[in-house]
């Protein structure tokens, strides 16, 4: 039962997110392609320095109970 509730909650959050995301499409004034010079700068993207992120996430996941959140994939380790 507990599991079912957790799953339901996650599903609800997911659908809410999708609905919000979609409705956001029709809100506000759209940023035009010629206004995206700043957004193209590396520090404005969510990617970042892959090797730095790799080290940092690995260290945190071996010292703290929480991990993940930003993406999928990447292997596990015996460190936690």
């Amino acid at each position: 039962m507990m599991k079912q509730n957790k799953l339901q909650k996650s599903l609800q959050a997911l659908l809410l997110l999708l609905a919000l995301g979609l409705s956001a499409c029709s809100m506000g004034t759209a940023v035009q392609p010629w206004e995206k010079g700043t957004l193209a700068r590396p520090e404005m993207t969510f990617g970042g320095d892959k090797l730095d992120t790799g080290y940092t996430e690995h260290i945190y996941s071996s010292k703290e109970a929480a991990s993940g959140g930003a993406g999928v994939g990447g292997g596990g380790c015996g460190c936690n």
Binding site: K3, N5, K6, Q8, K9, S10, L11, Q12, A13, L14, L15, L16, L17, L18, A19, L20, G21, L22, S23, C25, S26, A30, V31, P33, E35, K36, G37, T38, L39, R41, E43, M44, T45, F46, D49, K50, L51, D52, G54, Y55, T56, I59, K63, E64, A65, A66, S67, G68, G69, A70, G71, V72, G73, G74, G75, G76, C77, G78, C79, N80
Partner: protein, 447 residues
Amino acid sequence: MRSKSNKSSALLGTALATAAMMLPSVQFASADVAPERGIISFKYLNYQEHQGALGTSVATPGPAVSENHDVETEIEHKNESHNHNEGAVWVNLVSGASALPTATPSVLTPSSVSSTTGSTAADRISVNAYSIMAMVPIAGKWSLATTFISDSVSGASPIYHTSGLTHMTDSRSVVDAQLTRYFPSGNVAVGTSYSKESDYLSRSYSLQGSLSTEDKNTTFTLGGSITNDTITPKSLSNVTETKNIYAALIGVTRVLSKNDIVQINVGYSKGEGYYSDPYKYYDKRPDKRNNTTVMGRWNHHFEGSDGTARTSYRYYTDTFGIKAHTLEGEYVQPLGNGLTVAPLLRLYTQNEADFYIATSAAEQAEPRLVTTPSLSAVYYSLDQRLSAFGAVTLGLKVSKQLGPDWLVDGKVEFYEQRSEWALSGHADKALAPFSARSIQLGISREF
């Protein structure tokens, strides 16, 4: 009134209806373009942990014992038998003898650690690692990225709470590859990862796709991964354990203005298999661990200073009973001549796992008296990483662009973890504060 399931199906209906209404006006178009240039990067990491001696270190000098993986043979016996008395068990850290019927652990004292490694009593694990990443664009529609990481780990590690130091060494190699296909309306990426340690093998496969709206201001991302781990504890001969993890992530990235971009990701992961730590005292964890993460990120560019604030918040919850909050901020400031500095601050807090066993009064008075779980306990762990704590990271990254092709960077980070900094849960105040320092040095070239 509606029942809970009715409510959720109503919500589902609403969401689907909203989605359906929106879809005709959403023209999916170019999400991402294939990279024009390739890149090759190298990065070195040096990492050193420390742990203060808050009544947890044993002052008596003793003989140095290395290779804890041999030592732990006996510890695992104890985990299996679990036929201890309630209260505390005396562990003789000096001679290796123990009052436990089946256990004879030989444990390093801080002084013997220092005599063997030349480090100080507070030093714990140290890591030296290097990694190489290469990405090549293929035919304007594809890209292939591959990463290789190699690290060597050595030093003293506690086997219960913050006590019972044993010396360990290990090395790890990781290879991963990701192939991405770019379409006019988005991209699809497949990835694989292979990680090997002397006692742990992990294979992972992932698939991720993203779609953007015509104005490219909104991007939806959906991803999934499967991870298969094989654990062969050195403490147990002829024993092979497995762990399988299935994960999914859904995300929305939205351009809010020419200076603001936000992202929300929701992740769910379902894991089954061996979660215990075979190298720790009294460690028996559930064989299922499911977690949910919600992460929000916001990057804002300041036109006045030309700097960029990168902020993120993550909520994590799992079936071990852990709830954790992570708040991170980084400020990237270009200084001219290709020089950029980026200070960062990270705040973290978690409560303890449902089955975490806090340090008993007896162990607080005498660290060699290991706290034992109650006989009725099905799951138990004395691992400090499953206790309630808070942590702070302070860091600074400096990078310098050299001409159009080369980039060099350096980063230093200081991390401190303390039980009294936990914002929720029951802090086990007998745990010694933990700290770490890391240095990264990198160089990369575009071609």
